[in-house]
C-alpha cells in the first residue's frame, strides 16, 4: 500500500511548484516588464546576515549596488549602507491568479530595489520574469496536454474500437502528423498571420500548435490499449448481453486506458513546456515584453551574453525541478498502475 501512496507525494510537490508560479504576482517583487535602465545586466545581489563589521542581523539585508564609473556592466557594492529586506510590502499592482487585484508582495526593499537573480539587458528583474514566465510556459504545457489527450483519446479510441478502414485512415493520418517537419511549417504559418499578434493570441496559437502536433502519439497508445481491451472476455461478454458501443467504451474500454492517459499526461506536460520554450526561443512564442521561459533564453543566442552574464542561464535551470517532479510522478503512476493490475488479477480470484 505504501507504494500506492507514492504518487501523492509527487503530486503535492507538483502542486507546490505550480502554486508558486500561479501566484507569481505575490512572490515576485516587481512587474516583469518594468525596466531599470540604470542597471542593465546586474549580477544577482547577495543577501547578508552578517555585516562588514562582523555584526549579526536578524533581518536579512543587502548592500546598494552602483554602476562603476565609465563602465556599462561592471557594478560595485557600497558596503556603507545596509538595506534591510522587508516582507509583505506593497508594490506594483497585479492580479493574483489572474483575477484578484492586489499589490502586496512577499518581499521588497522600497525605495531600493533588490534583484535576487540579477537583471537582463533592459534592467528587468530576472527573478520576477522567471516566475511570471512560468505562468505562460506551464499553462501552455498543461493546456496543450489537455488538448492533446482529448484528441488522442478520441481518435485512438475510435480507431482501436471500430478498427477496419477507420483504423487505417486515422493511424495513417497520425503517422503523417508525426512525420511532418513541424518547425518549418510553423515558420511558414507565421508569415500568414497578422502582423502584430497580441500576447494572448500568441499564447493560444502555441497551445493550438502543440495540440495539433502532439495528438498522434497518445492516439497510437490509446488505440493499442483499446484494441486489446476490446477483445477481453468481460467486454465480449458484455457485448453478448447486448451492451451498446457507447456503454462498452465508457464502462469497460476507456477505464482500461486511464493509467496510460495519466502517465502520458505526466510525461507530456514537461515535453510541451519544452516545446513552448523552443517556439519562443525561435521567436514564434509570446512577444516582448511578456516573459516566458523560452523567450527568457533568447538572449543566450548571443555569444557575448553566453560568456559574460552567467545568470542569464537561470531560466534554463528552473525547469529542472519541474521536470524531475513530473517524471517522478509519471513513474510513480506507472508503478501504481502495474501494482493495481497485479492486485486486480490476483485478488480478483480469476485463478
Amino acid at each position: 500500500m505504501s507504494q500506492r501512496r507514492g504518487w501523492k507525494r509527487w503530486l503535492l510537490a507538483l502542486a507546490t511548484l505550480h502554486g508558486i508560479v500561479a501566484c507569481a504576482g505575490f512572490f515576485a517583487p516587481y512587474d516583469p516588464a518594468e525596466q531599470d535602465r540604470e542597471r542593465p545586466y546586474l549580477p544577482p545581489m547577495k543577501i547578508y546576515l552578517v555585516d562588514a563589521q562582523g555584526q549579526f542581523h536578524f533581518r536579512p539585508f543587502f548592500y546598494a549596488v552602483q554602476l562603476r564609473n565609465g563602465s556599462f556592466d561592471q557594478f560595485e557594492e557600497s558596503s556603507d549602507q545596509a538595506i534591510p529586506l522587508r516582507f509583505f510590502v506593497t508594490g506594483a499592482r497585479y492580479r493574483l491568479l489572474g483575477f484578484v487585484p492586489s499589490h502586496v508582495h512577499l518581499f521588497g526593499a522600497q525605495p531600493n530595489r533588490i534583484y535576487l537573480l540579477g537583471t537582463d539587458a533592459y534592467g528587468r528583474d530576472q527573478f520576477s520574469r522567471i516566475l511570471y514566465g512560468g505562468q505562460i510556459s506551464l499553462l501552455a504545457g498543461v493546456l496543450g496536454t489537455g488538448l492533446t489527450l482529448f484528441f488522442g483519446v478520441l481518435i485512438g479510441a475510435t480507431a482501436g474500437y471500430y478498427g477496419g478502414w477507420r483504423d487505417g485512415v486515422l493511424m495513417r493520418a497520425a503517422e503523417l502528423f508525426v512525420a511532418l517537419p513541424w518547425l518549418y511549417l510553423l515558420f511558414a504559418l507565421r508569415a500568414f498571420l497578422p502582423l502584430a499578434v497580441s500576447p494572448v493570441q500568441a499564447f493560444f496559437l502555441i497551445i493550438l500548435v502543440i495540440g495539433a502536433v502532439g495528438w498522434a502519439r497518445p492516439a497510437r497508445l490509446v488505440r493499442g490499449v483499446v484494441l486489446s481491451a476490446r477483445e477481453r472476455d468481460f467486454v465480449r461478454a458484455a457485448r453478448g448481453f447486448g451492451a451498446t458501443d457507447g456503454y462498452l467504451l465508457r464502462r469497460h474500454v476507456l477505464p482500461e486506458t486511464s493509467s496510460v492517459i495519466l502517465t502520458q499526461a505526466a510525461i507530456l506536460v514537461p515535453q510541451f513546456v519544452l516545446a513552448e520554450m523552443t517556439l519562443s526561443f525561435l521567436g514564434l512564442g509570446v512577444p516582448e515584453p511578456v516573459p516566458s521561459w523560452g523567450n527568457l533564453l533568447v538572449s543566450l543566442q548571443q555569444y557575448s551574453v553566453l560568456v559574460s552574464y552567467w545568470w542569464m542561464y537561470v531560466p534554463a535551470l528552473v525547469i529542472v525541478p519541474f521536470f524531475l517532479v513530473y517524471l517522478g510522478l509519471a513513474s510513480a503512476l506507472q508503478q501504481d498502475a502495474s501494482a493495481a493490475k497485479i492486485e486486480r488479477t490476483t485478488g480478483g480470484g480469476r485463478w
Partner: protein
Amino acid sequence: MVRMARMARVSTFGRLLGCGLLLAGAGIFSRPANGFPPQASSSVELLTLPGEIGKRGGRLVVSLRAEPKTLNPLTAADAPSREVILGAMQADLIHINRATQLTEPALAKSWKVSADGLQYTLTLREGLRFSDGQPLDADDVLFTLRVYLDESVHATQRDQLIVGGKPLAVRKVDAQTVVFQLAKTYGAGERLFDGLAILPRHLLEKPYAEGKLSQAWTLATPANQWAGLGPFRLKEYVAGQKLVLERNPYYWKEDTKGNRLPYVDELVFLFVPNADAQVLQFQSGETDLISRLGAENFSVLSRQQRGYTMSDAGPGLEYNFLFFNLNEPGEKTSPDLARKMKWFREVRFRQAISAAIDRDAIVRLVYQGRGAALWGPVTPGNHRWANSSIPHPARSLEKARALLKEGGFTWASGPNGEPELVDSDAKAVEFSILSSSSNADRTKMATLIQDDLKQLGMRAQVVPMEFRSLIDRITQTKEYDACVLGLVSFDADPTPDLNVWLSRGGTHLWNPSQSHPGTAWEAEIDSLMQQQLAAPSYEQRKRAFDRVQQILAENQPMIFLASPDILVGAKNSVGNFHPAVLEPYVLWNVEQLYFKNTAENARR
C-alpha cells in the same frame, strides 16, 4: 548611395548634380618603378602614399558576413561583393579618402573642372596596367562608361551616372585624357567618380558584344579571365569557404621609400555567416582584422585582449530612426490602418513621441555607451555637414503629454486601471513597431521605445520581421504602422542620400516614390535638395542642407534615435591599421597594411 544598414542595397534613383568644391590633385610625381615587375615599363606614374614603411610578405585574413554573389562590378549589389570588389580588386578614377573624407587622385592623376562646372577633364596616369599586364588607356574608360550606361546591362551604377536626367557624356581627347560632360551641375562634384571601377576592354568587349556581360565574371571565373586595377587580383575561389586574392604586381601605388604596394602577398576572405562565429575566429587568431562589431561583442573582445587591439573609431554614418506610415490612405488600406494614419499624420503626435523617447538609454543599453544620440540624420562622425543649431531637447514626458493634449488626444482609464491614451473618437492608441529580426540592436531599440510610450499610455507592440518582407511592406504593400530602421551613407556628402530626402525617392521611407510632394515641408525639402546640388560653394550647399535638417527636426517624419560607433579590431602585428568611419572601415587602406613580424604570420 544609401544602404539599408547591414543589408541589401535599395536601388538608387537618379542623382542630380551640381558643381562641387575642387581639390587640386595632390603632388604627383612619377618615379621609375623599382624593377618589379620586370615587364612593367619604367615610365609608370606611381602615386606615393605617406605612412609607415611596411614589410613585404604575409597573408592577411579577414572574414566576410556572406559569400560575395559576384566579382562583376556591374552587377554587384550586395555588401560582401562591394567590399571585395571596390575594397581590394578594382580602382576608380578619383577616390574619396576614407580617412579625410576628401577626394584624391586615383587612376586619374589630375583633373580640371570648367568654369560652369559642367565639364571635367581627367588626365590618366601614364603606364597603367591591368593586373594581367595589359595597358590601360582612355579607350578602356570610354568602354567602361558605355557599359555602365547601357540600359540592357542593368548596371547598379547607372543611376549614379544620370545627371540632370541625362547620362554623362564622355569624350576622348588623347590616350591619357578624357572629358566628361554633365547636363547639369552636380553638388558633390568629382565625388561622382568614386566607386566607379574601370573595366578592361580587352576582356569584356566580347561578352558585351554577345550581350552576356552581366553574366561574366562570376566567382567561378578562372583567374586568367579576370583583370582589375586594384591592389589585389583573383587567385582562387573555394565555394562556401574562401576567396583568395594575390598581390597585383602592376598596382600603381608606392610608399615614400619607393616600394611598390601592396605589402601583403595574399588577401584571404573567409565566409563566416554568423557574427558570433566571426568573433570566435578573430579571438582564436584565424583572422587578422574584424569590423562591423556590435558593442556586446566588442566588449567581450576588449575584456580579454590577447595579441590584438580593439579600437573605437567613433560614430560612423549609420543613423537609426523610428518612422510612421505617412502614406496617403488608398483604396486597399484597411479601415483600421486608415484610422491610425490619422494619428501618424498629426505632427504633434510625432513630436510627442520624439520627446518621450529616452535616447540616452538607447545609447547606453543598446550600444553600451559606444554610440551617439541623434536628433537629425547627420551623425557626429560627419563633421562637415551637421547642423549644430538643431536643438537636442532632453527627454520630457510632460512636454510629450502637453503636445498630445494639443493634438486632440486625451487619457481614459484602461482595463488595468492605468491611464490609456485615446484619440478624439475615444479609440485607444495602439500600434505595432516593425523591426528587422536579423538586427538585434534595432529590436532592442523598439523594445525600449515600447516602454517609453507605455508611460504616455500608448500600447505599442514590437514585431521583429525578416528584412526582405519588412522592406516589402514599407515600399510595396505599405501595410504597417511604424518601423525602426537604419541607413548607412556611403559618403559624408548629402548628395548620395538624395533618394531618402526627395519625395519621389524610393528610400523616402515614410512615403516613398510620390509623384508630387504630399506636404508643403516635403516640397520645401525637395527644392532645397535641388538647390544644394546646383549651389557652387560648400557654404551655400551647407546652408541649404542645414535648412533640410531643421525641417526634418520640426516635422519629425523620422524620429532619429542613435548612431553606433564603428568598432573594429586588429592583431597587434598588423601595421598601418587606421580604421575609418566610412566603408570599408578597416580595408580602405588595404594596400598599406603589413605584418610587423612576417615570420610569425608565415607559421600559420
